[in-house]
Symmetry: C2
DNA sequence: GAAGATACCGACCAAACGGTATATTGTCAA
DNA sequence: TTGACAATATACCGTTTGGTCGGTATCTTC
């Protein structure tokens, strides 16, 4: 082979991260199945050989995106913040207030990366489903834990089941995002979340 | 051309319906983008020529599925039933109770056809988005209308906004289905919907 | 500094895709 | 009965797909 223009200095970690990042965006925009490896490569100026050095298959790349990009992102944007408050009602309320205030183009346009992949992939690939489910369960658990502590502290109504309510809250959030996405309407998204706030307040003692 | 084995008797309407039905199932299982025309044809024993006689493009077929299959299906399963009750709280409650009781494999496995397409297609194709939005708006409107009438009849709390609540209820339903789908768990689906029932009851006067 | 491992390159491939072109046949009005 | 058109059939096409492979460059280790 004649002309080999390789990256001057190697940086396998950077290459891997570039690929994960580009794949994340490509999947966000097109879904996993319609995500094009060629487009991902074009957006990273990484070669196909490099890609297949770091990831065995497209599927592996997708699973890595779930575990290494989407998971940590939600961890940062929801879970850690939620764990800080000492009153779960206020914590949830404020967190959602923040989402309402920060409602940006990206959420309205592309929705929730987690939910997108759930709807597309969970019936098609068991590994995807499990990867997504792990994140979902963590989310529900964080909310449930907060509610439980709130019950102990006498802040949350005792006649409620934290696990069930947590499940429902997470479902509602995903639903609000999904509806806002199809309506292409920040207003609908915000109105929807505000009703969720009302519901959350109804859990207070 | 040598071997032309045509259907003895023509039936263009039947052919069209067969295609819509097969396309609906293919899309439900694989999503729109990954839906294969070849597979649809194989499941209908319709020829490619016939398909392209009835539908100009794959996209047209998808839009027809939304308008002629998914729309009417929701109309039948939700909207008409909901319009019958004269107390919206009971109406919604019972309708959801029915969904809880009827929770079948298909809902858990494939989720809601409407929501699936929303998450996949609404950012990618404006016509899809509009077709889906039309159904969504009808859904929200039916619920809102019922709540409004309930307010007039003194059955629903007057200090609530029917449109916002309807939006939120629809979002919650889609959320519950989505979560049950990824959990592959009828139980999670039912627990989630039961919390929605609790919420709905809280709207009563 | 030689050797072996790791990282990267890009041409190539078979399969599947949506879509087209052209031929044929059933249907029905005139 | 026939002419016109709607309906159906199938071979074929260009493109894109995920994936492979032989090769090269850089890095690490001894």
């Amino acid at each position: 082979m004649m002309n080999m223009i390789q990256r001057k200095t190697r940086n396998p970690e950077q290459t891997r991260n570039d690929l994960l990042d580009a794949a994340y965006h490509e999947i966000l925009e097109s879904g996993f199945q319609a995500a094009s490896l060629e487009r991902i490569l074009a957006n990273t100026s990484v070669s196909k050989g490099a890609l297949y050095h770091h990831f065995g298959t497209k599927r592996d790349l997708g699973l890595a995106v779930i575990e290494e990009v989407i998971g940590p992102q939600l961890e940062k944007r929801w879970f850690t913040i939620l764990a800080q408050h000492d009153n779960p009602i206020n914590g949830l309320y404020n967190l959602i207030a923040e989402k309402i205030a920060q409602a940006d183009e990206s959420v309205i346009r592309y929705g929730c990366p987690l939910n997108n992949l759930i709807q597309e992939m969970s019936p098609l690939d068991e590994s995807f489903r499990q990867g997504l489910q792990k994140i979902l369960e963590r989310w529900v658990e964080v909310v449930a834990q907060a509610l439980k502590e709130g019950q102990s502290a006498g802040q949350v109504r005792p006649d409620t089941n934290p696990e069930d309510i947590a499940l429902y809250i997470v479902a509602s959030i995903e639903g609000c995002v999904g509806l806002g996405k199809n309506a292409q309407s920040i207003d609908a998204y915000q109105r929807c979340l505000r009703q969720l706030q009302v519901y959350i307040q109804s859990l207070a003692v």
